[in-house]
């Protein structure tokens, strides 16, 4: 670990206790959504479109409804009508199609039956007639003059002049320095312009989407599901059904990976509608095939970037034209790409134009630092090329141009305290940086940036009769947040972390909490926990003052004890347990809550160093050493910060080398299984050495920055730069699969261009 700034000495924050949910998870006792079964439960199956783009002309459910065991069949007609312009129109018509299907796998109906086999048989008997429409499957097709327009209502937002005709461009984002770009590039001694393409990739969570819904005769329903935000499941389901939120209670199950892909709903509204119709609980579990075909991948892109640099390595001008596909509906890929592409470096003259484009593939969803890994792929490989061209060390080039406190962001505001330079220096000082390479090996350096967000969080702290505590929050634990909540509470209260039980409360057990996204859980929900604990300490001081017969102002809270500081003789300190034991006599149960809208989320930076070995005959790339630094602000539980960094690297390496959606000419996905969609497994990767840099975020009581996303930003360019240094080949199209690498080596005249 690298500590870059002096910080307070903490007793518990920064330690590595065994996570509270660890035993249950390693022994198989933890209950994920698919583990839940209820008496009288039915099984739900979704009927999905075989076409990438088609108009639904009729749906006949009569045969399916008459089949053995079938208790309910639903279609889009079972949900309230929704029109374009509705705040969640896209979500509503994505969960179940109405008049049109927009991708192969789009849900058109659902069936509930006594057994899964019966439901599958009935789903196959639902007769859907389609008028097949020409499918738009690529960016080029979407932007063609004669392209079929997917959505007749889609008028390009941000167009100047305003759009008068619908198109497949949902949004245009423009940022610029407002300076003379020609003059900017004229200041440059070297100008390079490059194009990149990337393909959609899936988040690849191991646990498929799953839920159980039980709707009672009173019209209220309970949903058990794994998600990144059960309050969002409640509101989205209610919106789609036209219900009040109060009719729905969502109980979070354990979650087996999300990475952004479980920030929306797919099955839950269908399960509720089926359950309401059948009067029985309904369980729905996606197959892996369904997960690939129907749930959100990260966008594919076409990127074109032009950079101007002076001979001393100073970047002076940057022009970016970014196109992101967001699948069948509008999405923010281009916006987020525009907000990240030049964010890490000081560039006086810049112009960015980003398009968000719809095509006939599954609706994109968030995936760790959405859009940023792709802009980093482009920027960081071009920086390496510039370094080579100018004869400047790649690290020195980045240090020369790196943003620091006070530098303006692309959006104009000055950065607060950030740790980019510290991350670069941490890698430069690591033994890996100067370690010798073997034959056919190359080393790549790359950096990455992500914003992080705050949003709303709630927490309740209950002290028990024996002095232990329960901390209830509304943030699903997808990366070890229970442990971080317990550690912050332990630090505040002075209780051992294992005397604190961190609990993820359901929608009726804790205050509203936004989805676990934007690396916000430990930052924002942690702030709510700290707020609740500080209220609790104030209460404990008051109770202790009563017990001591002292004025509350003469009682301090020191290391988990109430300590008398007055002048009326001496009084024994009182522990939490001692105060709890007399709670009934001093005012009743000890409970405190914290609820807030968290301001001041601190940006995160990361710098990665990757060694690869390239088989010159097959093009197979093997990652042989990897070191990653990241600014965590303050690492509450360093093991889980390291885990987030390592997880981001693993996913980024898969994105770089193997992962891609492959469609046939009709828009049918050809590789919807982990056999054909290759994610890295443990044997594919070396130990990933994580360096935690701690430049505290001044807006958080412990200095926390979110750490869940930034780690996936640098791996793609780090791998690409390493491949270049091993082979002499610049590859600008993802994935850098063996075939593509071999083609590049062959085109380059063999190994290292020789």
């Amino acid at each position: 670990m690298t500590v870059t700034e002096p910080k307070p000495r903490y007793k518990y924050v920064g330690t590595r206790p065994v996570r509270h949910d660890g035993l249950e998870k390693v022994t198989g006792r933890a209950r994920f959504a698919a583990d839940l079964n209820m008496s009288g439960q039915l099984h739900g199956i979704v009927v999905r479109s075989p076409h990438a783009h088609a108009r639904i002309t009729s749906i006949d459910t009569s045969q399916a409804e008459a089949m053995p065991g079938v208790k309910a069949v639903i279609t889009g007609d079972d949900f309230p009508a929704v029109e374009p312009g509705h705040r969640q129109y896209d979500m509503c018509v994505n969960v179940i199609a109405r008049d049109k299907v927009f991708y192969e796998g789009h849900a058109v109906a659902a069936v509930a039956a006594s057994t899964r086999d019966q439901a599958q048989a009935a789903a196959a008997a639902v007769k859907v007639e389609y008028e097949v429409l020409p499918a738009v499957l690529t960016i080029d097709q979407a932007l063609a003059q004669d392209a079929p327009v997917l959505h007749a209502h889609m008028m390009t937002a941000g167009a100047n002049p305003p759009a008068e005709e619908p198109s497949n461009i949902s949004n245009i984002t423009r940022f610029s320095s407002g300076t003379d770009m020609d003059a900017g590039f004229a200041e440059a001694d070297l100008v390079i312009e490059r194009e990149f393409t990337t393909q959609p990739v899936h988040q690849g969570y191991i646990e498929p989407h799953a839920c159980v819904a039980d709707t009672g005769q009173d019209g209220h329903t309970t949903i058990w599901c794994s998600s990144q935000g059960h309050f969002n499941v409640r509101s989205s389901t209610a919106t789609l059904l036209g219900w009040e939120n109060t009719r729905i209670r969502v109980i979070p199950a354990e979650i087996g990976g999300g990475f952004g892909g479980k920030t929306t709903v797919y099955l839950e509204p269908l399960a509720v509608a089926l359950s309401a119709k059948a009067g029985r609980p309904v369980k729905m579990v996606m197959t892996r095939d369904e997960v690939f075909r129907a749930t959100g991948p990260a966008p594919g892109t076409k990127l074109r970037i032009k950079l101007g640099v002076q001979s001393d390595g100073s970047l002076v001008a940057g022009d970016a034209y970014l196109i992101y596909t967001n699948g069948a509906y509008a999405g923010p890929g281009g916006l987020l790409g525009a907000m990240t592409v030049f964010e890490s470096y000081k560039i006086e003259h810049f112009n960015i134009e980003a398009l968000d484009v719809v095509i006939n593939t599954a609706r994109s969803a968030a995936y760790r630092a959405p859009a940023a890994p792709l802009t980093a792929f482009a920027m960081e490989t071009m920086l390496d090329e510039i370094a080579t061209e100018l004869g400047i060390d790649a690290m020195e080039l980045r240090l020369k141009n790196a943003v620091t406190e006070g530098d303006p962001s692309t959006m104009g505001f000055p950065f607060a305290r950030i740790g980019f330079v510290e991350c670069l220096e941490a890698v430069r000082g690591h033994p890996h940086f100067t370690a010798p390479l073997g034959p056919n090996q190359g080393r790549g350096l790359a950096a990455g940036y992500w914003f992080n967000i705050g949003e709303s969080s709630s927490a309740t702290v209950n002290l028990n009769e024996d002095g232990t505590a329960t901390v209830v929050t509304g943030s699903p634990d997808i990366g070890g947040s229970r442990a971080s909540m317990a550690l912050m509470a332990a630090e505040e209260l002075g209780i051992d972390p294992h005397d604190i039980r961190p609990v993820v409360g359901d929608t009726e057990a804790v205050g509203f909490t936004d989805t676990t996204e934007g690396s916000r859980a430990t930052f924002a929900t942690g702030m709510a926990v700290v707020e609740a604990c500080r209220k609790m300490v104030a209460e404990l001081r008051g109770r202790a003052a009563k017990m001591m017969g002292a004025d509350v102002d003469d009682v301090d809270w020191v290391d988990g004890q109430a300590v008398y500081t007055g002048s009326d003789g001496t009084k024994d300190p009182l522990s939490v347990a001692a105060i709890c034991a007399k709670a009934k006599r001093t005012g009743g149960p000890l409970t405190a809550t914290g609820s807030l809208e968290a301001h001041g989320a601190g940006p995160g930076f990361a710098v990665h160093l990757c060694d690869v070995e390239v088989d010159q005959e097959t093009g197979v790339v093997r990652v042989v050493r990897y070191t990653a630094s990241q600014d965590a602000g303050t690492a509450i539980h360093p093991s889980y910060v390291e885990g987030q960094i390592q997880g981001g690297v693993a996913q980024g390496v898969g994105w770089a080398l193997n992962e891609e959606y492959i469609y046939d000419s009709d828009g049918v996905m050809e590789n919807p299984s982990f056999l054909d969609y290759r994610v890295p497994v443990a044997s594919d990767l070396p130990m990933i050495d994580a360096i935690i840099v701690e430049v505290p975020n001044p807006a958080h009581p412990y200095g926390v920055r979110g750490v869940g996303e930034t780690g996936i930003v640098p791996p793609i360019p780090a791998v690409a730069n390493a491949i270049y240094n091993a082979t002499g080949c610049r590859i600008r199209d993802l994935p850098m699969s063996p075939i593509r690498v071999l083609e590049a080596i062959t085109a380059n005249g063999g190994s290292n261009g020789s």
Binding site: G331, A365, P370, M411, G454, G518, S519, G600, P698
Partner: protein, 91 residues
């Protein structure tokens, strides 16, 4: 309260490209009202999925945020969950 307003470049249409300007408001909401009076249409743009950075602090939903005299207020695209942009970010 007189404050200094900075607009990210995608929000400068109603101001004719002006990036920085003076305006008044005791809260961000009042400031937006004032900006809309000076530059018709800017209010709608600022109320649709925009965050602010005030004296270094990123605030996602700033309508009632108080402003001190002389504050530096940066309007930037919203990166927060639940915005009109749909999906956002994840860990």
């Amino acid at each position: 309260m007189a404050v200094r307003v900075h607009l990210s470049s995608n929000l400068r249409g109603p101001t004719g490209g002006l990036a920085e300007l003076e305006a008044e408001g005791a809260t961000v909401g009042a400031l937006i009202d004032d900006l809309d009076r000076r530059y018709p249409g800017l209010g709608d743009a600022l109320r649709a999925g925009v965050s602010v950075v005030i004296d270094g602090l990123l605030i996602a939903h700033p309508e009632y945020e108080p402003l001190a005299d002389g504050a530096q207020v940066y309007f930037v695209p919203q990166t927060a969950g639940g915005s009109s942009h749909g999906w956002v970010c994840c860990s």
